[in-house]
């Protein structure tokens, strides 16, 4: 079967056909990802990376590398016009911390890029990269947040190791703890984890016939085009980024990865350049999730009402800030979980260390804290002798309740329904057998969707009917495999009464598609989905008078469906979309529309920690039944139920897919995944064989239940579902392990060895 053979008519079996084009191409093996793109004369790029975590660079000798046949460029910091990937302008008035594209006078983490090579073959590029000689002088560094915060610790950046400190306070905390009849206190620690998407970082850059530097890359954010332009000191309009459909993102492709290196090499060599990172260099050096150390103090009355929460979060930002301010902010705002309190105080700090920079990863600060706040509830329940489910139900927030920022929740809260659903679905634990203890546990969460409202988020979209009635959509969304593009087609088509095989969507082109903002923060359905809905409705409104005129009825007596518009109740009296489009054009009602959806705007004062943060939340509850081998500590998950109130499911199968996939990542986070960095800052887990993501045998049948109870702020009342399900697995599993064995788990991942050790700890 030749790769050139066209796809025939897609399958129309089952309830979900016709299918979005990208999914058809994926199962056909026809979709062209970032590395499936070849241009004549294309060079291959490779990055030279530091092998030390903290050192001054004395010299870089590229002469041997340049001597390898086929090498066309070996570039260092001096070759970069504006050597700045990010300055972390968070609007907080913080001193800028420069993250260079290529290290100049010092390296700050194991694997930091130092030079970059382009050659005629991938092999020559690798050979040359290995021959770049860097003279380092090691200097003392800090590799844990404890060390970084100690007096006299070496500083990662001139202004000190404490980078940002958020402080939220609502109510009288001292009084709340005075009112408390029971106080539970614990410290929880989470680890570095990697996104481990299956498609490595990849892309191709070239200069087109108009002198525009074009990058076609696997990225969640095409708006980085501006940063790339500035790095090369080019006008913004001279750089164009095309986002290929990604083989996974999860936040790991939210900051730039290959883009700066591709851009620099293409610009300098004037030839197309391809770059694909190896899995090993990705595991070593590409940004990870922030480890959090979380100290929680929770006070409650004897009958289980939470009075006070006092929380301190320290996040390991690694060597450069990237999105640390935002991650620690999300952690702070969500630290109290979906529970009421009389008063709360949250401190959330990002700390630099000489380790791999940490940044965005599905859950983004708000998921680490779930492990902590849920276990606090379980500890409280046990201390009070109250059932953990009942304790939660006693304290769940409702619409109108205040958060630690002082703002109120302004949509309906479905967490209690979710928990009830999960409890009923799981029922009682299966009996334990010899040597294996079975337990059940629950975890609840609230996870924001949409960017913080003080960012004044926007998304634009364009839609137009062709003369034959097919629909063209242009939207700058990037698609990381969760149906970002397909959802827009679906929303547009359903609004216009069309089937999705009639639509073509062009996405992710910073010059040719209206910008929608990147795919992160569970914002895409909310933002571009609303934009698509808005545009489709506006287009429909423009065309209604034309259709009404053609059919000889009022605009209010039209039915749109089946790729036609008919008079209400008279399916035989209809016009096709093509007839409508041509008629509109003849009347100079051009059948296309561009519009922008602007999210709600709010204000937040960082100095007081008061104001509005996220637009809304998705609530959920998970339940897990586990079997723990008493002798080895190994955990087998027997049953797992995950329930979220999604407001409105635009495509139920895809919603379930998001829930199931996020649960899988959450299980890996909970039980097995850890990027290992030793006490000298060296990464020791650079093989994929050693980075333990769950296989099919590590997971049970995951039962995903999406409830549609309280409408959210997404299109048609949808709530975002990409991130929310990743938080509850860790606490649900911890609770189940506790229920099975009595062990309290405070550190992730909960490896068999740690579980065994916790089982043997004397009960406090």
């Amino acid at each position: 079967m030749s790769v050139d053979a066209p796809l025939a008519t897609p399958a129309r079996h089952g309830v979900d056909g016709p299918y979005a084009r990208d999914f058809e191409e994926k199962v056909a093996g026809a979709l062209r990802y970032a590395d499936d793109w070849t241009l004549p004369g294309m060079l291959h790029g490779a990055v030279v990376r530091s092998s030390l975590p903290c050192a001054r660079i004395d010299s870089i000798d590229t002469s041997a590398a340049l001597g390898i046949p086929g090498v066309r460029a070996v570039l260092t910091a001096d070759d970069v016009p504006h050597n700045v990937i990010s300055e972390e302008a968070s609007g907080l008035g913080l001193d800028p911390v420069i993250m260079p594209m290529l290290a100049h006078d010092r390296v700050r983490y194991d694997g930091e890029p130092v030079a970059v090579v382009a050659a005629e073959t991938q092999w020559a590029a690798e050979e040359a990269a290995a021959l770049v000689v860097v003279e380092y002088e090691e200097v003392p560094g800090v590799f844990s947040t404890e060390d970084a915060l100690a007096d006299g610790a070496p500083v990662v950046h001139a202004h000190g190791n404490r980078y940002v400190a958020w402080h939220l306070e609502e109510g009288d905390v001292e009084q709340a703890f005075a009112d408390a009849e029971v106080v539970v206190e614990a410290t929880y620690r989470t680890q570095h984890v990697d996104h481990a998407y299956l498609e490595p970082e990849a892309g191709v850059a070239w200069i087109d016939g108009d002198g525009v530097l074009v990058l076609r890359v696997s990225t969640q954010v095409i708006e980085h085009a501006r940063t790339i332009a500035e790095m090369l000191r080019l006008p913004h309009a001279r750089v164009r980024v095309i986002g290929a459909y990604m083989g996974g993102g999860f936040g790991g492709k939210e900051d730039m990865t290959v883009e700066p290196y591709l851009a620099l090499l293409a610009w300098k060599t004037k030839r197309p350049v391809r770059m694909v990172w190896t899995r090993q260099e990705s595991l070593l050096a590409r940004q990870k999730r922030h480890p959090f150390t979380m100290r929680y103090r929770t006070g409650a009355t004897r009958d289980g009402r939470i009075t006070g929460q006092e929380i301190s979060i320290v996040g390991n930002a690694g060597a450069y800030p990237l999105l640390s301010t935002r991650v620690l902010f999300a952690g702070a705002v969500n630290a109290t979980g979906p529970y009421r309190f009389d008063a709360a105080r949250v401190d959330s700090v990002a700390v630099f260390t000489n380790t791999v920079p940490t940044s965005a990863f599905r859950g983004f600060g708000a998921m680490q804290v779930v492990f902590a706040y849920e276990q606090q509830m379980d500890r409280l329940a046990e201390a009070l002798g109250i059932d953990p489910v009942a304790l939660r139900e006693r304290n769940f927030v409702s619409q109108g309740d205040r958060r630690a920022t002082g703002e109120s929740i302004d949509t309906g809260v479905g967490v209690a329904d979710c928990l009830r659903t999960v409890v009923d679905a799981l029922g009682d634990a299966s009996p334990s057998t010899l040597g294996k203890r079975v337990g059940i546990g629950y975890g609840c969460s609230m996870q924001p969707y949409g960017r913080s409202v003080f960012f004044a988020d926007r998304a634009s979209c364009w839609m137009g009917l062709e003369q034959d009635g097919t629909l063209v959509i242009r939207a700058g969304v990037t698609d990381l495999g969760a149906g970002q593009a397909a959802s827009l087609s679906q929303i547009a088509c359903e609004t216009l009464g069309m089937t999705i095989d009639q639509a073509t969507i062009h996405i992710a082109d910073s010059h040719l598609t209206p910008l929608t903002g990147g795919t992160f923060a569970t914002r895409q359905l909310y933002m571009s989905g609303n934009a698509a809905l808005k545009v489709a409705r506006e287009l429909k409104a423009m065309l209604e008078p034309v259709a009404a005129d053609l059919l000889g009825v009022d605009a209010g007596s039209l039915e749109w469906g089946d790729n036609k518009v008919c008079a209400t109740g008279r399916p035989d009296h209809a016009i096709t979309m093509g007839e409508l489009s041509r008629a509109a054009e003849n009347r100079s009602v051009m059948p296309y529309c561009h519009s922008t959806f602007a999210a709600e705007v709010g204000e937040f004062d960082p100095t007081t920690g008061r104001g509005r943060s996220f637009p809304d939340y998705t609530y959920g509850a998970h339940g897990a039944e586990v079997e723990v081998d008493e002798e080895t500590g190994q955990v087998r998950i027997l049953r797992y139920v995950a329930c979220h109130d999604v407001g409105r499911a635009i495509h139920m199968q895809r919603v379930e897919g998001q829930i199931e996939g996020a649960v899988a990542q959450g299980v890996g986070y909970a039980l097995s995944e850890e990027v290992q960095i030793d006490e000298d800052g060296a990464c020791t887990s650079t093989l994929f064989a050693d980075y333990l993501i769950p296989t099919s045998l590590d997971l049970p049948e995951i039962r995903a239940i999406a409830l549609e109870i309280h409408p959210g702020k997404g299109p048609l009342g949808a709530r975002g579902v990409g991130e929310p399900p990743i938080g509850p697995p860790a606490p649900a599993l911890a609770a189940a392990i506790h229920n099975a064995t009595g062990a309290w788990m405070t550190q992730l991942p909960m490896t068999p060895e740690r579980i065994l050790a916790a089982m043997r700890e004397p009960v406090a």
């Binding site: 991938q122 190896t278 097995s672 064989a689 050693d690 333990l692 045998l697």
Partner: protein, 293 residues
């Protein structure tokens, strides 16, 4: 990452392969499935200048010949896993083979290759020693037989000469009253084992242990025959208490090196757990109980 360039030739017989390697010298190596050698080459941990491909030098036969299981060195892990002869003659071998890596590795990797590679974390060296297997080799000086117990010297080091290739593996078939079992502790399906144990027991007519062999793998630089530590089993009824005591003794004396898979204390404890489980299972099978697990 690319392996360093090498020259390549496909051999059509064992003799030809041995001859080619002898001719090309110290930097020549044989490759069959390549599931161990190829990744090492791609990580630049091995840089042979000449590869002799032996994949097709002989058929991948598995034969039962009275009391002996005779395996071509080219028998793949998938072949061992699926073979009814292996399941009948020495079940622990097929079970262990089924735990190697993933389905793709098992369709390329060979028993000869695995034994010659001498990775202390590999399943087959451990089972080979426990089974009392022996390998037939062909080298520049001719053919000889080497007991598995004398084969594994250290990490990636066997007692074979350079250019001496394993051509056959002979495994004594279990007799009536014998039972075998293999157990490993893995962090994730397909992973290299943190700890592994292979146990073979023979029960006398009185139902007591007449003979036992226990081999621990993955904890040191080679499989460790720790049978001596389980000496207390001789003449004992192989039920839980006696076996547990022997397992503790085994664990106490086993060499445990450092590993990223867990602390020494934990892995030592797991040696005891796995030894106990493997012995009990082997004993149950020796009695004819629970033939299929």
């Amino acid at each position: 990452m690319y392996a360093s360039p090498f020259e390549y030739a496909r051999a059509s017989s064992w003799q030809e392969a041995v001859g080619l390697i002898a001719e090309e010298g110290e930097d020549a190596r044989a490759i069959a499935g390549g599931q161990s050698l190829a990744p090492m080459m791609m990580l630049k941990m091995a840089e042979p200048a000449f590869l002799v491909d032996i994949r097709d030098v002989a058929p991948r036969t598995i034969e039962r010949d009275n009391g002996m299981l005779r395996l071509s060195a080219l028998a793949r892990h998938a072949d061992l896993e699926a073979s009814p002869d292996v399941a009948a003659a020495f079940p622990a071998l097929g079970e262990a083979a089924g735990m190697i890596g993933n389905v793709r590795v098992r369709h390329r990797g060979t028993i000869g290759g695995s034994l010659a590679h001498s990775d202390p974390s590999a399943e087959l060296p451990c089972v080979a020693v426990a089974a009392g297997a022996s390998v037939t080799t062909l080298g520049p000086s001719g053919e000889r037989s080497v007991p598995a117990a004398e084969l594994f010297v250290s990490h990636f080091t066997t007692s074979l000469d350079h250019g001496e290739l394993i051509t056959r593996v002979d495994v004594p078939a279990l007799q009536h009253g014998q039972g075998s079992a293999f157990a490993e502790l893995i962090r994730r399906p397909g992973d290299f084992a943190s700890v592994m144990v292979c146990a073979v027991v023979r029960l006398g007519a009185d139902g007591r242990c007449a003979d036992a062999r226990v081999v621990v793998g993955s904890t040191a630089d080679r499989p460790l025959d720790v049978t001596a530590a389980a000496e207390s089993l001789r003449g004992a009824e192989l039920r839980t208490e006696a076996v547990a005591a022997a397992a503790r003794a085994v664990a106490d004396t086993t060499e445990i090196g450092s590993s990223t898979h867990g602390s020494e204390a934990y892995r030592r404890e797991m040696v005891a757990v796995l030894t106990r489980r493997a012995l009990l299972k082997a004993a149950a099978r020796a009695r004819g109980e629970g033939a299929h697990e």
